[in-house]
């Protein structure tokens, strides 16, 4: 169930030159799962901006966004105290109702944020998650310390080898011979596909698609799955391994 509400910006700070973290205060009761997203109205923009939830608690929502266009450029310049009109409770999120004991979480670039709350949730359920964060280069890395502070093993990969394993997240799995019984991932499509091919465990993949409404009405972000047509915004963004058609 989603809900429209007003949220006050508590902070809006850069994590890297192009990635920002915004903390919002307001009603969070409709957020029930890690991996959901919110849809933000921006003045002068017709469509809202869907952004994944990095973390939330009883009264705040934390989002981490990359400045990639006019909308996120506008967000970057917002100040604490400003009020935003936001839809919350969107998307299915990740499922943790399984018997995995050692899940692997893989985030690539701006696919990293939803892994953070998921990691906390899994820890809270007594599981022992490990985390791979993939970036292009060391200067783009964010949230590695925050994940480490949760007390989990954190592995890094950079495409140029400037930090961690040189190459891709799949190279980390090989190099470190990581053993896991469940995979959760969010990131660019080529990364998701590479992980799909390189692993065999049960897995959940969080997808991205250009959305219209974000709540299932416009059919703009539909995709085909083995279980029929699904809307990334409403029936996703998380799809299970067995249903994905690449």
């Amino acid at each position: 169930m989603y809900k429209k509400g007003l949220y006050t910006i508590v902070s809006n700070t850069p994590l890297t030159p192009v990635v920002y973290r915004m903390v919002l205060e307001g009603d969070t009761q409709y957020i029930t799962n890690s991996g959901e997203f919110i849809n933000i109205e921006l003045s002068g923009k017709f469509l809202r901006r869907p952004i994944s939830i990095a973390d939330y608690d009883e009264r705040t929502i934390t989002i981490i966004y990359k400045v990639v266009g006019r909308g996120t450029e506008q967000m970057k310049n917002m100040q604490a105290g400003e009020v935003l009109d936001i839809l919350t409770g969107l998307g299915n999120g990740f499922s943790t109702n399984n018997d995995a004991k050692r899940p692997l979480l893989v985030g690539g670039g701006v696919g990293v944020p939803p892994m953070y709350n998921l990691c906390k949730r899994l820890l809270g359920e007594g599981k022992k998650p490990m985390v791979i964060l993939g970036f292009n280069t060391a200067a783009e890395i964010f949230y590695a310390e925050e994940f480490r502070a949760l007390g989990v093993d954190v592995y890094l990969s950079t495409a140029d080898g400037s930090e961690g394993t040189k190459g891709f997240v799949t190279d980390v799995i090989r190099e470190k011979a990581l053993e896991f019984d469940y995979l959760y991932t969010c990131g660019p499509l080529p990364m998701l596909k590479a992980l799909y091919d390189a692993t065999e465990s049960p897995a959940e993949f969080s997808f991205e698609e250009r959305m219209g409404c974000g709540f299932g009405a416009c059919m703009g972000c539909s995709c085909k799955t083995k279980y029929g047509n699904k809307r990334i915004c409403k029936d996703g963004p998380v799809l299970k391994r067995e249903e994905i058609i690449w």
Partner: protein, 306 residues
């Protein structure tokens, strides 16, 4: 004493509590909105464009944002008429107890006829809206809606299989909207719905490629409102049958403007996608807007501006 503002209108004998109808393709079959407000506040609902066979539609991305609107190239994704009748219609009826407008699309005269014959048997449906104007399907709906003869032929074929009021939903992507609307009226249409989306296109200048996979799509939203008002005005003044106005409506003031231009009912489309409460908020704002403009009965202002 609080004055009573009468928002009711009548569309081909179908009484609506108010003229607001969520437009086809922006409201699904009501499910996504029913959890958030009581749909019975709406005048009617026009459900997602339905074809004979199930369709996935066009490849993604199929949404592009624009100044004051968006382009979509969804391409009539729907579960097909049989599934709509078996599953969606009963569910919609369970959450919505006011008139239902069935939006039907087709790729051939036979398909229009077959779908309308099936929907004619459904008691829940009060009005059939025949889409001859979808810009997103090749050799599809829009080719029927761009010529008076073919639009009239669809109208005749559909009218021969149903006794329900038939509205033909027309495309703005034509040179002479009046000749097409008149041809539909002469062929027996009970009403005209206009406008569907304007054919548009966006280019991602950084990547030097189309934003939308299908290259072009239908432009809707606030920006097209003046085009819609103009066409509603032209058609309402040229035809005797009622007009459902559609295109860029996002406020109660827009509704009144479109009615003054000649619309008997007003559809709200893209606004629902930006704000899921848009239709409800417009309905709630109507009495106040009527008070401001000195209108006691909304039906009094239909086509009042000549």
């Amino acid at each position: 004493m609080v004055k009573h503002y009468d928002t009711s209108v009548e569309l081909c004998g179908v009484k609506l509590d108010n003229p607001i109808i969520p437009a086809s393709g922006t409201f699904g079959f009501g499910r996504e909105f029913a959890d958030y407000y009581d749909l019975d506040c709406l005048g009617a609902i026009s459900f997602k464009g339905t074809t004979r066979d199930a369709r996935f539609g066009n490849p993604t991305p199929r949404i592009a944002e624009c100044e004051a609107g968006l382009i979509n190239s969804v391409g009539l994704q729907n579960p097909g008429i049989d599934k709509v009748i078996a599953e969606e219609l009963p569910h919609l009826r369970s959450i919505f107890h006011k008139p239902i407008v069935a939006n039907i699309s087709g790729f051939s005269l036979e398909e229009y006829e077959e779908c309308c014959a099936k929907i004619d048997k459904e008691e829940q449906v009060e009005i059939i809206e025949v889409n001859v104007s979808c810009p997103n399907v090749h050799n599809g709906g829009m080719s029927f809606g761009t010529q008076p003869e073919s639009a009239a032929e669809v109208t005749r074929r559909v009218k021969s299989v149903t006794t329900k009021p038939v509205f033909i939903k027309l495309s703005p992507n034509v040179t002479d909207i009046v000749s097409i609307a008149r041809a539909c009226e002469d062929a027996g249409a009970d009403g005209i719905c206009l406008i569907n989306t304007l054919l548009g296109m966006r280019i991602d200048t950084m990547r030097r490629r189309h934003v939308i996979a299908n290259k072009m799509g239908g432009f809707s939203g606030d920006a097209i409102f003046p085009v819609a008002v103009r066409m509603v005005y032209q058609v309402a003044n040229a035809c005797q049958i009622p007009v459902m106005g559609c295109g860029g409506v996002s406020t109660a003031d827009n509704v009144i403007e479109m009615m003054m231009a000649g619309a008997t009912a007003v559809q709200v489309g893209a606004a629902n996608l930006k704000n899921p409460y848009a239709a409800k908020e417009i309905i709630e704002a109507l009495p106040k807007e009527m008070e401001r403009l000195g209108i006691e009965r909304l039906s009094d202002i239909i086509g009042i501006v000549k």
